[in-house]
Symmetry: C2
Subunit: 337 residues, 2 copies
DNA sequence: ATGGTTTTTGTAATCGTTTACATATTTGGT
DNA sequence: ACCAAATATGTAAACGATTACAAAAACCAT
């Protein structure tokens, strides 16, 4: 492998000049620039990243710690982050914390060890409580999950509002005994629960929520359990795409038709929600935009470390489909909560 | 930040001893070991990775280059790889090449720059042709995509056989004019096409295949186009999960019911294929196992660089669902190819 | 031409480890 | 008790870049 001194020799200049050309620093003559570039080409020189990082105490890397890579939401976010990072010649270390606070802590340590320029994180509830960007040697931007008072840049959906609108939509379409299945490991689930509860209360309806770990299996099991009891609820509502999948599977397995017997609605406009007849009503999130906003926030924070904490709040869009169609008096089971 | 010499001072030993303890080398007395470990704890010492990598010319990192992170197949593979890597205290750099040979080459360069111990790669067709593990300064294990004669360790499905069985199943259930939609960027798509074509030929049926870039949008568009023409085909077959999604969307949009008018089948047993009534017939791949086999192959290769090239071929399982239900003479449109 | 700026270039120190080699210590056989 | 061999420890030289500082060259107004 060619080293910088080989390039210097080949170009007939000092190593300092080579380094300066490669770093794009000013104050180096055009003739030297040309000769260095030619030598680099000639020798196929590639700088040693370890040496560079050791000396300069800097990397061109950012970290992305997602809470569950199986969740299509996060794969889409990671694509957005990668795309933008790529354009800025930054590499991305993608880590999957699996909704596990310990893994999260471990990966945050790893980010420190790797000397990353910054981190984008979708924290579990445990990590979020008391989280302060200042406690880390790099800027942190939160994505998808964030409390009102968290001291960190963040990009989130207006969860309370979205869940409120989704719930209100169900109520207005005649569904009154609505059960909300939400993940407890994330602030997002709790906020959506809050929006749901507020909407229910506003119509004088009783709140029925099931807290659970946000996985397909747990959601399916919880829904199956609930659907065994009588009277049946009017509607099942999911606080995330994964949970919605579990609820849908439970309805299919128990052969309960929606919306005739029980309505269904939830979060995330994933392709399959359109395919499952008669279509599932959801809140659509601008996922790619969320990811892009996160990395742009991070880049700005890296450029200006001292600027005030900022928060980007995006609005979800209600996509009405058959699963929450207006109840006709005829088919509905009386709602006698 | 504490450095190794601080630890040495605190423990009253030399830096060499500290380094030896941390590396777990033999030949260091228990008393020193204890003192060093205590000092490390005390000072919260964390070794500088850049320095370590520079000096030792080694990293504890492996690379994983997937061709499309949106494809659930690859998210599951990456989970498996991460899980095993994690157990071996290896970090994983995950890169998404987006079915783009240029990005693939770029990421392979990056892996070289990062001095990774090895790479797991799902190559595009372009990169696969003429691919030799020897051409890289690290071992490479291919996953999902590989030619018969590629000189590299690999983990793949028996694609030809799986597609053959899937196609035969359709034929036996009365579907004769079957159109195969397959991605051209991957060897996998071509191999599955081969299995399909062989099965069709074995029954004296005409091959109708549509080659396209393996994305949902392109598959949907191609299917829509084909479904506009008459006579309608008997069945639509997809060579991947993404393509299958596109075909399903096209059928829904054109309001063509399956299997009554046109049957449907494809690859990858994703959750939604069960939910879309009456269920979609697929070849189920043991995805997690594929990922695990890949990293285990890589670890073995790293341990024994000279051992013979190995290939793990897994078998796909045919999951019969309603979308390919046996044709009854009554509902079928005559097959007059 | 001259001396003072400014700009360009080069030399050598430095980043924080690992590890080759030298030295000190222990061990064990006589 | 002694010496050779084995084992434990320490010293200092790498690893390959960046960059502070010094030196040289170029520029410009007098």
């Amino acid at each position: 492998m060619a080293q910088i001194k080989d390039v210097a020799k080949q170009a007939g200049v000092s190593v300092a000049s080579v380094s300066r050309v490669l770093a794009g620093h000013a104050g180096v003559s055009e003739s030297i620039r040309q000769r260095v570039l030619a030598a680099v080409q000639e020798l196929e020189y590639r700088p040693d990243l370890a040496a560079r990082r050791l000396r300069s105490r800097q990397t061109d890397t950012i970290g992305l710690i997602v809470s569950d890579i199986r969740n299509p939401f996060f794969t889409e976010v990671s694509r957005a982050v990668e795309d933008v990072a790529y354009q800025h010649r930054l590499r991305v270390i993608l880590c999957n914390a699996d909704e596990d606070p310990e893994k999260e802590a471990l990966y945050l340590d790893l980010m420190r060890d790797e000397n990353v320029r910054g981190v984008i994180l979708s924290p579990t509830f445990a990590t979020l409580t008391g989280f302060r960007s200042h406690d880390y040697p790099f800027p942190v931007v939160l994505v998808d999950r964030c409390d009102r008072d968290t001291a960190a840049d963040a990009v989130v959906l207006d969860n309370i509002d979205a869940a409120y609108r989704l719930t209100t939509h169900l109520i207005e379409n005649g569904y009154r005994r609505n059960i909300f299945f939400y993940g407890t490991t994330s602030a997002t689930g709790r906020q959506r629960h809050e929006g749901y509860a507020t909407a229910m209360a506003a119509h004088g309806l009783e709140v029925h929520a099931e807290a659970l770990p946000a996985t397909v299996d747990r959601a399916r099991a919880a829904a199956r359990e609930r659907l065994r009891r009588r009277p049946l609820p009017d509607a099942l509502v999911a606080s995330s795409g994964l949970i919605l999948l579990g609820l849908t599977e439970a309805l299919r397995e128990t052969r309960i038709r929606f919306p005739d017997s029980v309505a269904l609605a939830g979060f995330d406009d994933l392709p399959w929600t359109r395919l499952v007849e008669p279509g599932i009503t959801v809140i659509a999130q601008p996922i790619y935009d969320i990811g892009r906003a996160a990395i742009e926030l991070l880049l700005q924070r890296i450029a200006k470390p001292e600027q005030a904490v900022r928060r980007v709040v995006l609005r979800g869009e209600l996509v009405e489909r058959g699963s929450s169609a207006k109840r006709t008096g005829a088919t509905a089971s009386a709602s006698m909560a």
